[in-house]
Subunit: 388 residues, 2 copies
Amino acid sequence: MSETSLIFSAQEYRDRIARLQTAMALEGLDALLLSTPADIFYTTGFLTRFWESPARPWFVVVPQAGDPVAVIPTIGAELMGRCWIPQVRTWDAPDPRDDGVSLLAGTLADMVPENGRIGLPMGLETHLRMPLGDFETLRSHLAPRVLTDATASVQRVREIKSEAEITKIRTSCEIAARAFDRVPEFAQAGQPLDAVFRDFQIALLSEGADWVSYVAGGAGADGYGDVISPAGPDPLHVGDVLMLDTGAVREGYFCDFDRNWAIGSASDCARRAHRALWQATEEVMATLRPGHRACDVHEMLCAGLRRHGATPSGGRLGHGLGVTLTEWPSFTPLDTTPLRAGMVLTLEPGCKTRDGRILVHEENIVLRENGVELLSPRAPAELPEILG
Amino acid sequence: MSETSLIFSAQEYRDRIARLQTAMALEGLDALLLSTPADIFYTTGFLTRFWESPARPWFVVVPQAGDPVAVIPTIGAELMGRCWIPQVRTWDAPDPRDDGVSLLAGTLADMVPENGRIGLPMGLETHLRMPLGDFETLRSHLAPRVLTDATASVQRVREIKSEAEITKIRTSCEIAARAFDRVPEFAQAGQPLDAVFRDFQIALLSEGADWVSYVAGGAGADGYGDVISPAGPDPLHVGDVLMLDTGAVREGYFCDFDRNWAIGSASDCARRAHRALWQATEEVMATLRPGHRACDVHEMLCAGLRRHGATPSGGRLGHGLGVTLTEWPSFTPLDTTPLRAGMVLTLEPGCKTRDGRILVHEENIVLRENGVELLSPRAPAELPEILG
């Protein structure tokens, strides 16, 4: 066990808090209440897989000025004590009488005047990680203080990554790239898909992932039907296209990209689809600039696919990336979020092949003032073949 | 890709829904609204790692009679279509104008009369996995229908496992046990703890885990300071006690148990502590019966530790186990939940050794009418030594 558990310098966290406090001031917020693993890791550096247990709520409160306060179960006191924030208040959770509610209410009441406003994320792509009944109790304890939406304050800050964060994401991408390079070693015709998924996770760990939060994929002739199913025992066949997609984690930061392979020689259909996906991505990477909106990327990818003879498969065609597998904005026709330098994003076009089958392709990038910098080592232009 | 994606027979899910509907009738609920991965997997068999993306909410609605209805993002339609439930309603998520709220409200409004009651889990160890703002919109759409707490309805049903579920948990325990047996191969003095964590995850996958949702642990002379930290690069030293704890997943079901090793010869202090933990667990396994309460287990474990000369370390000393790493009830002094046959539980005593260090021990059991059946192959009575 290390003496500290910071991932980044304390200054990195102070800068984040200062940016949050600037956003809070613009929204007239006296405090910000955070409850999810991502928001708590972002503000404190508190990194643990213990979130897997839904038993206990955890909170960080960011005041208008000064350092945040952690209000957490006692079991986390040792680890949070090694993070940078000086104030950690604890209770013995789970407590069926009062699971941290009065401790949290007291913390907020001390910080926020009775006519004050407390923000918490309530909008798209958020949720509150505490019992709803306890939230209602909290709200009545805090009245007449107003609890209001702070989604934008959090998202506009978190979506711009520091250079230190970009370095972490690049490292996760490099780990995944090395594991993808090893896929031909274990993804032969005849191998059950679930064994391929296991071997891929083993490769990710061997190459340096701390843990593997996400692996998905699919396999089928000229494409796959969906991209979120767990693997079954069906073997790979000659003629299949295999896709593997991963969110591997190193020091709390995700990559999120995929790769495709033909099992045996690639069919013309699969080869053309892969080429169109690759070209559409290439063109967006050449033209994307700060000032484009999220919906523009969707349109650019769809137009590129059509220009290269492919039919877009619909759905979201990319998103933000960082301390969760997917972050906002979303590359859909409806998301008008302006893209800014420092955003880490995925480009994720998909196209239809035949019979409800699709091919998907994904890269991870950081948007710079002068254009796109690739974080995932670029996929090959031609669909690679695993010839056995 | 398989044609169906059921994990269990359709009858297993029908039985679960019937039990939920009985509980709902007792509480006077016209519908039950579920939103978490665990509740949705439990009712439908929908198993995916895509929950790792926080972008989209997902819902299952259980009516007073008849089959549940899934209200989910289009990206899940293919996989949910291979599950047992006939009605799947979809929308293109994420949609910043209306992210499934009106589709969900319409589904509930058709099912529940205006004077009716809709239950959702709002209590201890629950949360609502949808944006809070959308929940408030949903509630106003559905008024005058009442949204009320249904925690007990869900927990009293889910906490009793079917034989098919117990078989799945036993399988996950057996996978972890085989991986624990291989720890001496890679946990030698001088090995960095983070490398040990990676190798342990690789062993879990090699032995058949579909994925590894949780690994934690610690190492130090005569014990460790906390049990939820990620591993750092510090090497194991002769004289350390190493603990590894895992929630490995096979077909959606978790194990959750740990093992300890002395690196080199065990100290008397560590040996005594391990023996006390093992004996206290042994005695509870010999005496626990349906009718005991959760708090009785806490008391029995503490009394056993003291009888064997050890000082309990405080906190929760075990909990339910199944489709999440931890489920209710909690073995704390405050949880009075009656224990019933069919509950799968962890026994997890911890004791202080010295200088704020602790040793912990954990087994997984199922409570039967006539006593305890072990699911995790029993830890050795004596602290095993890794002699290099």
